[in-house]
């Protein structure tokens, strides 16, 4: 029977510990939990806020597609992805990936794979609001994000 990943796209913050707990509660077969949280940086004080635009409907669908691919490639016991949209301030969480498996390698690799794919394939766009109150620019893609995909 196929494992059903938890996927949520939401405006409000999330609790990484609670999401990990939900995947491990009452289980005795899990030997590894990897929890990755991506946070909003202030870029050395330059940034006041990130505004994340997303494509409602496609965001969930695309994360689901990458999650299914992840489950085909690694023997996971559980998988959760939460991605926020809307205004996010420095220090706040943006994205969460939780993977559980019997042994650590699968959980580590699967979480990295998912994050690499979300960076370039999940329909989200970050706009900067600068500390002086000025509207900043749209965040550009980074060449290293494209390169990160090549290893999979």
């Amino acid at each position: 029977m196929g494992l059903q990943p938890t996927i949520r796209v939401q405006r409000e913050p999330f609790n990484a510990a609670a999401e990990a707990e939900a995947l491990t509660a009452g289980r005795t077969d899990i030997g590894a939990v990897v929890t990755f949280t991506g946070l909003c940086r202030d870029e050395g004080g330059r940034l006041a806020e990130l505004d994340l635009e997303h494509y409602p409907g496609m965001a969930e669908t695309e994360i689901g597609r990458v999650a299914d691919e992840t489950l085909r490639r690694w023997p996971l016991h559980g998988l959760a992805v939460v991605h926020r949209y809307g205004p996010i301030r420095p220090g706040e969480p943006i994205v969460l990936v939780v993977t559980t498996s019997s042994h650590r390698m699968a959980a580590f690799e699967a979480a990295e794979f998912l994050m690499d794919y979300l960076k370039s394939n999940a329909p989200f766009w970050k706009k900067e609001l600068l500390a002086e109150g000025a509207e900043g620019d749209w965040v550009d893609t980074k060449p290293e994000d494209e390169h990160a995909l090549a290893r999979w």
């Binding site: 494509y55 409907g57 496609m58 669908t61 991605h83 370039s120 394939n121 999940a122 989200f124 766009w125």
Partner: protein
């Protein structure tokens, strides 16, 4: 079909979505971008560098040579910065 625009494509065009009926000779995403460019300065600006435009048909990523026949929803946007 419904056309959706996101991020700086949306800002440059000045709208998030609209109903479009491309002429019959427009058969692919790339053809649609060329056609959209002729619809006004704001479109020409949004699509000035067609290579940097990503697209989706009915909420799935597609390349510029993808056929648009039967598409209900076509979206145009910059490279994504998720995660």
């Amino acid at each position: 079909m419904r056309a959706l625009y996101f991020a700086w494509v949306r800002e440059r065009i000045g709208k998030a979505e609209e109903e479009l009926t491309p002429p019959p000779e427009v058969t692919t995403i790339g053809g649609m971008i060329d056609w959209l460019k002729t619809r006004g300065e704001e479109y020409a600006y949004a699509f000035e560098n067609a290579r940097s435009i990503r697209a989706a048909i009915d909420r799935a990523h597609v390349k510029h040579d993808a056929p648009i026949s039967g598409a209900r929803e076509v979206a145009f946007f910059p490279p994504m910065t998720g995660g």
